[in-house]
Amino acid sequence: METLRLPARMENLSAIRSHGLEQALRAGMPEDRARKVALVIEESLVNVVQYAYPASSGDVELSFRLEKGLFYVCIRDWGRPFDPTGCEEPDVQACLEERELGGLGIHFIRNLADRFEYSWHEQANSLTVCFKVGP
């Protein structure tokens, strides 16, 4: 499993997401589920760019591990503390007129990952998500 560290910028979105997709496929995940890993990685990166580095720039690091049939992705940054697990849920029942833009990224992470944990450790935000590899 290869760790990747790059500046947390939207221009690196494609490279970061592809790397995550490739690691998930290599871990043995079926393609459709690996795409969900890619989605969770995109949503996490967007949050890092928006909330951890709102006015500054810095790196984001992705590391991966496979343990007892579970594929773990750890996303770290060295920006402002930001805990996405504490964010409010969007109202997904609202009608078009009342529906608000935003809030769905974290909703996807929460619903697609089998685990979603946050910690602030050694001056870094650390988000761990995990997915079942097999059916």
Partner: protein, 113 residues
């Protein structure tokens, strides 16, 4: 992401291909906005060629839909597959918008709500 758009009867069919992510999503809003500004009221979006969508894509769809609604028009979607379908259900978009199994079905329903 690529679009293949054109009129079919009184509706505009927009076929979307590729990935709708945080970088490309605003292009979708622009594409729909151009048709609405040209006076079109019925948009049918064929997502059969879309292999990936993130929350930024849904945000763009929602912004476009609000614009169409404000112009007394409507938008519907067809051919949702795999992760695109799942993302539509988890987000509630599958119940917020008219969704059809095929383009033919979407065209036969006439005006989307």
């Amino acid at each position: 992401m690529e679009f293949d758009s054109g009129k079919q009867g009184n509706a505009v069919v927009i076929k979307v291909k590729g990935r709708m992510d945080a970088v490309s999503a605003p292009e979708f809003e622009t594409e729909c906005g151009n048709w609405v500004e040209a006076g079109e009221k019925i948009l049918i979006v064929d997502l059969g060629g879309l292999e990936y969508i993130s929350s930024a894509g849904l945000r763009s769809i929602l912004a476009a839909a609000k614009k169409i609604k404000a112009a007394q028009g409507g938008i519907s979607f067809c051919n949702l597959l795999g992760m695109v379908q799942e993302v539509f259900s988890i987000s509630g978009f599958a119940t917020m918008f008219p969704i059809h199994g095929s383009l033919e079905e979407a065209l036969s329903k006439g005006e989307p709500s």
